[in-house]
Amino acid sequence: MALRDIILYPDNRLKTACEAVDSFNAELRDFVNDLLDTCASGPGAVGIAAPQVGVLQRICIVDATRARKPVPNHGKLILVNPEITAWDGFAVGREGCLSVPDYTGNVVRAEKIRLSAYDLDGNALSFEMEGYEARIAQHEIDHLDGILFLDRLISRGADLFQRKPAKSKAAE
């Protein structure tokens, strides 16, 4: 197990767009193993992107199986050169980031997305994601474009966008 150091904002590498992976080789596989280990060791982390360990390549992990409560998911995903190809709906959710310790904030994300990517062997993948898993993917793919959740914060008072409340009590 090899853990990589998480780089923290304001490290400028976190604000840099990453290069596409063009070689699906052993080096990529070794790096992804490190990234998986690093994600698994991050406190409460459900995803991680390569630039968070200082590697400016379009690689990320999305792992909604680690959500505190079970959510629809496609398992632990390794995504190489991921691209979101369709967006639908929006939702506000609370996000934090391994690279921005001690802060969480509300961010609007698409409720459903369609995503294409490659696996470690260069095979094409495609997923339709929703909810929490879609949020993780959007957060991680943002990292690959040099965008942090801090760039997308909305006011904590902006609750007009709430959706699907767990329980609503309203006298008619």
Partner: protein
Amino acid sequence: MKTPHWKLLTLVGPDRPGIVAAVSRVLLGAGAELGEASMMRLGGLFTIMLMVGIDGDGVHLKGLLESVRNEFKLRVHVDELNAGLHRRIDPDARVTVYGADRVGIVAEVTDALAQAGLSITDLRSDVAGSEDKPIYIMNIEGVAQQGLPPLEQALARLSSDIRVTIAPIELMRG
């Protein structure tokens, strides 16, 4: 870097442009460090609650602000803090409340929430609507110390004119 001695500075005065700039300029000049803050306009007053890291006691801090206090007609209060920065608690529940404004909404809702284990970390409220038909709106975030079900049960027993929604805050950290 030397760890500063943190204080909570509370300032209240008639709202007008430049209060925050003037206060922060004076504090910068005195070598103070600014921490977490909550500032907003309430009822025509501008209110500031600001963590200030600075050596010396509260009297010293108040003395630094004397000219700004006079210029902006501020009232100044200083509390010593035992803790410093990085003491935030992540809330896991959000409660929104609204209804025709009347006496007792806040007491009724927060009593129910407290008894069902909610520790409030953030509460914002507004009186909106027209002057003759005001509505009360409240957004609360907190830590559900006994989970969401007791809170849902408590809120279900509230008066029928209060509309309440409770939802979990599912933190996503990546």
